[in-house]
Symmetry: C2
Subunit: 236 residues, 2 copies
DNA sequence: TTTGACGCTTGATAATTGTCAAATCTTCGG
DNA sequence: CCGAAGATTTGACAATTATCAAGCGTCAAA
C-alpha cells in the first residue's frame, strides 16, 4: 500500500519554504521516513478528532479541508500542490481539527509526525521555517474570519471572484477552481444561494457559463466588492 | 510618556510559556528594550493596516482585538492578563490585521518588534516557543471559524455560556466577562439579536439578570448546545 | 435630585439566508 | 447515442438575522 518516496520527488519538496533552509541530513532523514501514495478522488485522508500521525504534502491533485458538527459540514480550505497541511496539529501533537479528503486523484506525501517533531527539536532552521509557515497560516485564517464576519454572502462572492481573477493573471475570463457546491460551502452559504448570488452580481458585469466566469469591468465589480489587502491579499 | 519596564514585572513575563525557556541574556535584552505604559480605557493601541512596531503584552486590564471593513466593525477576541498579542504580524514584519483597544485601564508592555525578530533569530528556545504559541493561536482561530460556520447564533451563544461556566469552575451562576454589545459582536450578531437569543435559551434553563448568568441544569443546556472539544476546548 | 448619556430591551418590519421540491443541465459509463 | 446519477438552477416558502425606532434602566456629573 504505502510506497517509499522516490528520490525524484525530493527536489520539489525541498523547494518548499518549509524545507528549503534545513540541514541536508535532517531533510534526508525526514524523506527516508516518508511515504508517498496515490489516492483516488473522494478519499478521506484525515478525520477530525483523530491524532495527527502524519504531516501531509500534496504533490499533485488537490485536497479539501472540511469540518463537521451536528450533521452539518463546511469546507474550510482547498490545498493545492505543492504545499503541506495539518502542520499545527503535527507540531502540537494534538488531534486534527479538520478532516481532509482528496478532490481528485492525488499524490500525497506522508511524513510521520514524530519524525517532524524530532527534527523540529534539533534543526533550528526548520524550527524557524515552521514559525514563518504557521504565522502565515494564522494570518490567512484571520483574513478568512474577517471575510465571514464583516461581509454579506454577495460581498464574499464578489471578492472571491476578484481574487480568482488576480490569480488568473488578471484575465477577464477564468474558470472556477472547484465545484460550485464546494465554493458555496467555502463561502459559508448554500448552493442555492450561491446560484442566486451569481445572478445578483450580473448588474456588476459578472457572467457565468457553467464553470466559466467573465468579469466585464473589474473596476465596476470592485466598486461593489471593496476588496481590502487586509482581507483579500493572502500573500502577506 | 513611555516608561522603562520596572524589574518587578520581569518574573510575571518570564513565566509566560513564550519566554520561559529562552536564554537569560536574551530575555534581559528583550526586557531592556521594552516599555511599559498604563493606558486609560478605550484607547486604540493598534490600528489594523499599520506596521507592527511592537509585540504587546497585557499585564493588567484587558484589550479588545477588532476589525473593520466598509464602515462595519467586529470583535475578534479579548486579551486578558498575562498574554501577548499580534505575535504573528511581529514575526512576519507584516501589517497588523487587527486593531486593538483597551477595554479598561490597562498596563501594557511594548517590546520593539525588531528586537523580537533579532532574538528570534539567535535564540532557538525562543523560536520553538513561538512555534508552540502560533500553533495554539492558529488552532484557536480555526475553532472559532468552525463555531461561526457550523452553528446558528443561538447555538453559538449556548456554547459560549457553557465555556464561560467551565471557566467559572463549573458554578451554576457567573458573570459575563464583558459588555453584551461586545459579546454580540464577538459572537457575530447584533445586540438586539443577542437580547432575543438569551430569551431563546430560557427554555433550556438559562436566566439572565443584568450581567449575571445562571444555568439551571448544565446537561439540559448541553443537550441543545452539543459542545465539542474540537470547537469549544480552547486549551488544546 | 435632576439630567443626560449610554447600554439594553422590545416591537415592528425588512433583508438575508436557508429549506424543500421540482425542473434542467452535465457527465460519463454502457 | 442513451440513460442514470449527480450537480445546478429555479420557484415558493420558511427561518434567521438585521434594521429602525421607541422605551426602559443605570450610572454619574452637575
Amino acid at each position: 500500500m504505502h510506497k517509499e518516496m522516490p528520490e525524484s520527488d525530493y527536489p520539489d519538496i525541498r523547494e518548499l519554504h518549509l524545507f528549503s533552509d534545513m540541514a541536508h541530513d535532517n531533510f534526508m532523514a525526514l524523506m527516508r521516513g516518508a511515504y508517498v501514495q496515490a489516492f483516488p478522488p473522494q478519499i478521506e485522508l484525515i478525520t477530525e478528532g483523530d491524532p495527527s500521525d502524519f504531516l501531509h504534502i500534496v504533490l499533485t491533485g488537490s485536497v479539501d479541508l472540511f469540518c463537521s458538527w451536528n450533521g452539518r459540514e463546511t469546507s474550510m480550505a482547498t490545498v493545492r500542490p505543492i504545499s503541506t497541511f495539518i502542520l499545527a496539529a503535527t507540531i502540537r501533537d494534538a488531534p486534527n481539527l479538520m478532516s481532509a479528503r482528496t478532490l481528485e486523484k492525488s499524490r500525497i506525501v506522508l511524513i510521520p509526525s514524530q519524525d517532524v517533531r524530532a527534527i523540529f527539536n534539533v534543526d533550528n532552521s526548520f524550527a524557524r521555517a515552521i514559525v514563518a509557515e504557521l504565522a502565515q497560516c494564522y494570518r490567512s485564517v484571520i483574513k478568512s474570519q474577517k471575510d465571514l464576519k464583516l461581509r454579506t454572502s454577495l460581498e464574499r462572492l464578489a471578492n472571491f471572484l476578484l481574487r480568482q481573477q488576480k490569480r488568473a493573471a488578471g484575465e477577464a475570463g477564468f474558470d472556477l477552481p472547484f465545484e460550485k457546491r464546494r465554493l458555496a460551502s467555502f463561502l459559508g452559504m448554500t448552493p442555492e444561494n450561491l446560484s442566486r448570488a451569481f445572478k445578483g452580481l450580473q448588474p456588476y458585469g459578472v457572467t457565468v457559463t457553467g464553470t466559466r466566469i467573465t468579469i466585464a469591468d473589474q473596476s465596476d465589480l470592485e466598486k461593489f466588492a471593496k476588496p481590502s489587502p487586509l482581507i483579500d491579499d493572502h500573500s502577506t
